[in-house]
Structures are given as structure tokens and as C-alpha cells.
């Protein structure tokens, strides 16, 4: 089973020493050369500015005003101020709802369902379904936001037209639900493709024997499929949670409103940093988001690694 899909950080099996994964005989030196261009670019254009952001987070730096000319190091003030403000916690809670609702539940469940329904199919129906789902994923967000405003608009919106309830204000009365459904629509493709690939790796013979043994559909999923795709679930959850945490697109639908009810952390940072010009504060909140993401990642790793 050395070839099975395994989470990238899966602990080495006991016989690891005897089995070398370096099939091409790359060796550490050549491997370093292979990785060098990517790491160099990352070091210059990612790590360096990211550390700079962390530095900004302990200053009162602003885009303009006196603090732009002469920023002061203020220690952890920005962090303390954020942590004692109701607005920050409100945003954090909304973000948790948004990530849980749209990524962990929406995209994963819908993505898996579509992948499962389509697993043995080929032909135009599969291509149509997958094509539409992927279309929602690759369209530019500037365009997508207009599509959803047109869909959810309370006067002429397509949804109200279809449901026959003119005047129903989705974005005002159910703002969080709206952006959760929106983001599910937007991002399901990634999960669908990943699970599509994962399901292809489940040996049909295993499923067959489970079926013969009288396992129900749910039991097959739990006992045969799940163990095979655990690694994919991990990759999927890690990436989509991270992306959704930092997703700014809902701003284009609701502008964080009404009354801050969709002001998720990414929008909060945008408002502080770009609209308010408070770059120190924005950097501090970015750093807190990073920590939250770290906690989430560690949680996923523990959860999905434990049983393997």
C-alpha cells in the first residue's frame, strides 16, 4: 500500500527505512536545486513582505497623516485593542460561521455529493455538471458578484422572480445565509474535483465485497470509502478553510452589511487597512487571522491523523 493516497504528513510506516521514495535517485543536493527557484521566489515575494507585515502590526503606521511620516512602535497595543473590541469578536464569530457553513459544510458536502453521484459516469451529463460547477469557480469575482446581486436583488432578482416572492430582501434579512450559499456555489468545484480524484482511488473490489457483505450505502461510505480518502479530506479541509478565512468576495455582495452582519475578518481588515488607512491595525488583525488559521490547521491534522 505504499502507493496509496496518504496525507502528506502521514507518519512514516515502520518499514520506511528499507523503502526509498526517491525512485529517480534525485538525492538531496539535486532536490534542493529543484526546489530552489520556488523557494527563492517565495522568500523574496512572500516571506519577506509577510515578516514586514508582522512588523507593521506592532506600529501605529497609517497610510496617510502624521503616522505615515513618523510611525511609532506601539508594542502589542493593536492586538490588545482588537481583542477587547466587540467588533473584532463579532467579526471572528461571523467568520467562523462563514467558514463552517460555506466551506466545511457547504463545499465539502456538496462537492463530495456531486463527486459521489458522478463517480461511475462518463458522457455529456457528467461533463455538463462538472463544467457548470467549475465555471462558477473560475469566473472572475468582479463578474460573479454582479451575477449574485442580480440573483438576490429584492426587486428584480431572479430568485424572487422564480419563487414568486417579489420584494424579499435576501441580502438584508438573511445576509449570512446568502453569503454562505454564495460561497458554496463559488468554491464547490475544488472539493468536487478533489473527491472525484479520491474516489477514483478507492479499489472497486473493496466496495464490491462490502456490498456483498450487505453493508448499507452509509456503511460503505464509512468503512470503505472514508479510510481511503482521509488524506484528501485533510488536504481539502486545510486549503478551503484557509481560502475561505481570507476570502474577501462577500464584500462585493453586501459591503459587510447590513449593520456589520457580514463583516467577516477579511472584510474587517479591508475596511481598516484600505478604507480606514490603519495599516498597523490591519496588519495586527492579519496576524491574528494567521494564528487562528494555524490553530485550525493543527486541529485538522490531529483530527484526521489520529486514526491512521
Amino acid at each position: 500500500m505504499a502507493l496509496a493516497t496518504s496525507p502528506p504528513e502521514a507518519p512514516a510506516p515502520p518499514d520506511r527505512k528499507t523503502y526509498s521514495s526517491d525512485a529517480a535517485g534525485l538525492g538531496r543536493v539535486r532536490a534542493s536545486v529543484f526546489a530552489a527557484p520556488a523557494l527563492l521566489l517565495i522568500a523574496v515575494f512572500l516571506v519577506f513582505p509577510a515578516l514586514w507585515v508582522l512588523y507593521l502590526s506592532i506600529t501605529n503606521y497609517r497610510l496617510s497623516g502624521v503616522e505615515a511620516r513618523d510611525p511609532q512602535v506601539v508594542g502589542l497595543d493593536n492586538f490588545f485593542n482588537a481583542l477587547v473590541s466587540g467588533k473584532f469578536w463579532n467579526s471572528t464569530w461571523l467568520t467562523v460561521e462563514f467558514v463552517l457553513g460555506s466551506a466545511v459544510i457547504g463545499q465539502v458536502v456538496l462537492g463530495f455529493t456531486i463527486a459521489w453521484l458522478m463517480r461511475d459516469r462518463t458522457g455529456p451529463l457528467k461533463r455538463l455538471v462538472e463544467g457548470l460547477v467549475i465555471l462558477a469557480w473560475i469566473l472572475p469575482s468582479a463578474v460573479v458578484s454582479f451575477l449574485w446581486v442580480a440573483l438576490l436583488d429584492r426587486d428584480g432578482g431572479t430568485l424572487n422572480l422564480l419563487l414568486g416572492i417579489p420584494g424579499f430582501a435576501w441580502l438584508l434579512d438573511y445576509p449570512m445565509l446568502s453569503i454562505i450559499v454564495f460561497n458554496t456555489w463559488r468554491g464547490t468545484a475544488f472539493s468536487m474535483m478533489l473527491y472525484g480524484a479520491a474516489l477514483g482511488n478507492v479499489p472497486p473490489s473493496h466496495l464490491e465485497s462490502a456490498r456483498l457483505a450487505g453493508a448499507s450505502g452509509w456503511q460503505q461510505l464509512r468503512d470503505v470509502v472514508f479510510p481511503h480518502i482521509r488524506g484528501h479530506i485533510l488536504t481539502n479541509l486545510l486549503l478551503i478553510s484557509l481560502w475561505t478565512f481570507n476570502d474577501f468576495t462577500p464584500f462585493m455582495l453586501t459591503a459587510g452589511g447590513p449593520d456589520g452582519k457580514t463583516e467577516i475578518l477579511a472584510v474587517y481588515v479591508y475596511k481598516e487597512a484600505l478604507i480606514g488607512g490603519n495599516l498597523g491595525v490591519g496588519a495586527a488583525i492579519s496576524a491574528i487571522i494567521l494564528l487562528i488559521n494555524l490553530v485550525v490547521a493543527v486541529f485538522y491534522l490531529r483530527l484526521l491523523r489520529r486514526k491512521s
Partner: protein
């Protein structure tokens, strides 16, 4: 093989990409750049066209006549104001950016404090102070470009706010077609009658944070002035004082009695929608700036065209809470703003840059810019006299409204204070009492202004 092919393509693409770099100018040609948040085919297209098609060729020719070889390049932008501001800040901070640039009047304070802009006389020399155009610009409009006693820019224009109303709906509700309320109570009374006559949205006064600065300029600030208050007075911010409570009280009356549509205030595109609804005859009374007349319901090229604008739409001055209770004991009030055009302190050719700046605001230039239905209130009295005659509303604002208008404080903290004000209106519209909302505002203000010591209540 494939890898080699791919890398060859990559090298090609990257070298093509690198060609985007601009090359420096050579010889004794003076190269100038001018930027605005305007772009041909998009936002402020007419402004962009004026610079590209008239200013640049005319200015280059005029300089040539003086024996100077000057090349001017226009750098359009045309995005959200906040993003434009961000980019200007980044450019100016790094010693880059156009030689002549437009900013919003309320950014002047923070830009000056950051050292992004400097007094004109410091950048371009005494010519800036002695520019002959100054004598044509009213004191109040000059104030738009003045920060701590020094002129940092030339004003590009100004504007004013009024109450627009739909005469057809007013008549239907038994109100005069030349309606002019003298107190807030008369606005409420008119709203009640409009409601009784079946008008879906009797009164639209912007509230909430979704409309951003539009809530401040076309909402809470004129009302605050009408109650005799100012957002900042003698260097101190005004906290939860009576005028603010009164202004929020009017919001409460309008939105709790069903005289306004609270949902419209919360929608991300609520302001667009209020425009469309007014054009469709669903809104009775709307507080807006002259831009609404020029750019929104303009029958030829507005975004929500009203073919019968000149017959159907009336306008009135914004009354004080009660006669004499307004700012400076006025009976009527308004708010004004305006863009500024200034110099980049890092300009290599500050003298020529100032000449270009002044050229764009010459009487001849402004007349050219405002030709063909592009009328606006320019900073120059001489030009206004000529061009505004043909537009009743702009003449009205210029003559009746500008003398009693007020301006926002051009200080660095204003944008944050403005946001706090918008949040206070949002709180009232969604059911809080004016007292609660004002107290919350005061608390936020203390955080923004750095302690209660900077706040007068």
C-alpha cells in the same frame, strides 16, 4: 522535450512582460504627468477627455510658443475613491506619482500631515500665491484648499446639497409644486401626506454605513448643521451634544413612522437604487447634491435618466430644524465639498507643473471643460456667471445655497469620525433611540480622537 518547450514559452512571456517598463525621457524635453480619478470610457469620462483632448495639446502648444518643449501625459484611473487614494498615498510616499494630481478635499489634511503634499508656494514658488485666478475664487472655496493657513492646492470646483422632490407626487398629495419647507416638521408633514397619497417612499435621507460618505454629506451633516451643530468646532470634536441628538431624532421620526425605507439604507447598492426609484417616481423627497441633477437624472446621459426632469423635478433649500436654529443662526443650511488639484512635491519641474495646473483651471479651460452639457459649479466666479445661466438648478445652488453652505473639517481624522456618524444613523434606523446612538458615537469618538479631552459635548 515538453519541459524545454514550456520553459522557452515562459522566457518569451516574461521577456514580453518586462517590456512594459517605461523608458526615461531624454534631451531637454520637459515631461509632465497629470492624474485624476477619471478614465475615458468609464468614471468621469468627460473630465478625462478634457485633459487628454484639450488641455494637453493646448498646453503643449502654448509652451512651444514660449520656446519650451513640454510633453504632458495623462494617467487616468477611474476606480473607487478609496483605492485611488491608496494608490496616490503609496506613490507619493515612495517619491513617485504624477506631477499634477487631483485629490478629494477631505484628504488634504492627512496628505499634508504625512508630507505627501506641501504648500504650493513651497513647491512652485511665489507664482502660486500670485496666480491671477485666486481673485476669481470666493473666500469659502479658497478655504477648501487651505490647511493650517497655507494654500496646498487649487480648488477644482464645489457643490451643494438641496432637497429634490417629485412635483407630480407632491401635487397628488396636495402639496405645492414650489414646495419650500421652513422647518423639519414641514418635511415630516409633507412625508405624511405623500404617504397618505400612496407614495411608496415618501422621504429618502441617506443613512447607514453602506452608502459611506453619501450618508454623511447627504444625510447627517446637513441635519447636524440644521440643528445648529458642527462635527468639529475650534479644534474639538462634537460629541453627544443636543444638535446630534436632534439630527438623529429626525432620522428616527422618518424611519419609525414608515416615511422612509430602512432597507434601502442597508443595501450595498442602496444609493443606486434610491436613484432608480426616484427616477421611476417612487420617491417623494430626496436629499442629494447637484451631482444628482447633473449625472443621475440628467435626461441625456444620466445613470437613471428622467426625460421630464426639468418639468417634474423640483428642488428646495434644506431648512434648519426651526427658522433661525441652523448653523450660524441660519434659516437654511447645506454642505459642500469639492476636489482639489495640487502638485507633487517630488516633481522635477515644479514651475512648469504649476503652469499646467493653473492652465487646467484657467477661465478658458473651465469653459471648454463645461461645454456640451457637462456643466458643473467651477471655482471661478467669472466662469460660473457665464456657464451656469443655462442650468436653473446649478444657478440656484450657486446663488442661493453656496452662501449658506458649510464644509467638512479637512483634517486627518475626519474620515474615521464620518464613519462613526454613519454608524450612529444606522443604529437609529434599526431601532435604537437617538440618545443611545449618540452615546455610542461619543464613545467611538473618544477612541478616534485620543481621549475625552479632544471632545466637546
Amino acid at each position: 522535450m515538453r519541459l524545454r518547450k514550456i520553459s522557452a514559452v515562459a522566457v518569451l512571456a516574461l521577456s514580453a512582460a518586462a517590456c512594459g517598463q517605461s523608458s526615461g525621457g531624454g534631451g531637454d524635453t520637459i515631461e509632465l504627468t497629470i492624474t485624476q480619478n477619471a478614465i475615458a470610457g468609464g468614471k468621469n469620462a468627460k473630465g478625462a477627455e478634457y485633459i487628454a483632448k484639450w488641455v494637453i495639446p493646448q498646453f503643449e502648444a502654448a509652451q512651444k510658443a514660449k520656446g519650451k518643449d513640454v510633453k504632458v501625459k495623462f494617467i487616468p484611473s477611474g476606480v473607487d475613491d478609496e483605492q485611488y487614494k491608496t494608490k496616490l498615498s503609496l506613490d507619493l510616499k515612495s517619491g513617485k506619482g504624477a506631477d499634477v494630481l487631483d485629490i478629494d478635499g477631505i484628504w488634504m489634511g492627512e496628505f499634508a500631515e504625512a508630507g505627501y503634499i506641501k504648500p504650493l508656494a513651497e513647491v512652485a514658488g511665489p507664482e502660486a500665491e500670485s496666480w491671477d485666478g485666486w481673485s476669481q475664487i470666493p473666500e469659502a472655496v479658497q478655504g477648501l484648499a487651505t490647511f493650517s493657513g497655507k494654500k496646498y492646492a487649487l480648488p477644482v470646483g464645489t457643490d451643494g446639497r438641496v432637497l429634490y422632490f417629485n412635483k407630480t407626487l407632491m401635487t397628488k398629495a396636495g402639496l405645492p409644486a414650489d414646495w419650500q419647507p421652513k422647518s423639519w416638521q414641514e418635511i415630516i408633514d409633507a412625508g405624511t401626506k405623500l404617504k397618505a397619497a400612496g407614495v411608496p417612499v415618501p422621504i429618502q435621507i441617506n443613512a447607514g454605513t453602506a452608502m459611506g460618505e453619501a450618508t454623511s454629506m447627504q444625510g447627517v451633516l446637513p441635519l447636524l448643521a440644521g440643528a445648529g451643530g458642527e462635527v468639529q468646532k475650534d479644534g474639538k470634536w462634537t460629541g453627544a451634544a443636543q444638535p446630534l441628538k436632534d439630527a438623529l431624532g429626525l432620522y428616527q421620526k422618518i424611519y419609525s413612522q414608515g416615511l422612509g425605507d430602512p432597507k434601502l439604507q442597508q443595501e450595498a447598492k442602496g444609493r443606486d437604487k434610491s436613484f432608480a426609484q426616484f427616477a421611476e417616481g417612487k420617491i417623494g423627497i430626496l436629499m442629494e447634491g447637484d451631482y444628482f441633477w447633473r449625472g443621475v437624472i440628467n435626461p441625456t446621459d444620466g445613470v437613471a435618466k428622467m426625460a421630464d426632469r426639468d418639468q417634474t423635478v423640483g428642488y428646495a433649500k434644506i431648512p434648519a430644524m426651526e427658522p433661525g436654529k441652523g448653523l450660524r443662526s441660519q434659516d437654511f443650511v447645506s454642505m459642500s465639498g469639492g476636489a482639489l488639484r495640487t502638485l507633487n512635491p517630488n516633481s522635477k519641474h515644479p514651475k512648469e507643473a504649476f503652469e499646467l495646473l493653473a492652465f487646467t483651471l484657467s477661465a478658458e479651460g473651465l469653459k471648454e471643460e463645461t461645454k456640451n452639457g457637462n456643466v458643473r459649479i467651477t471655482p471661478r466666479t467669472d466662469v460660473n456667471k457665464e456657464i451656469l445661466a443655462g442650468d436653473p438648478l446649478l444657478a440656484y445652488i450657486s446663488e442661493e445655497v453656496l452662501p449658506l453652505t458649510a464644509y467638512r473639517p479637512p483634517v486627518a481624522l475626519y474620515p474615521q469620525v464620518s464613519t462613526a456618524l454613519q454608524e450612529a444613523t444606522a443604529a437609529v434606523v434599526s431601532g435604537k433611540t437617538p440618545d443611545e446612538a449618540a452615546a455610542e458615537y461619543q464613545k467611538k469618538l473618544e477612541g478616534i480622537a485620543g481621549g475625552a479631552g479632544n471632545i466637546a459635548s
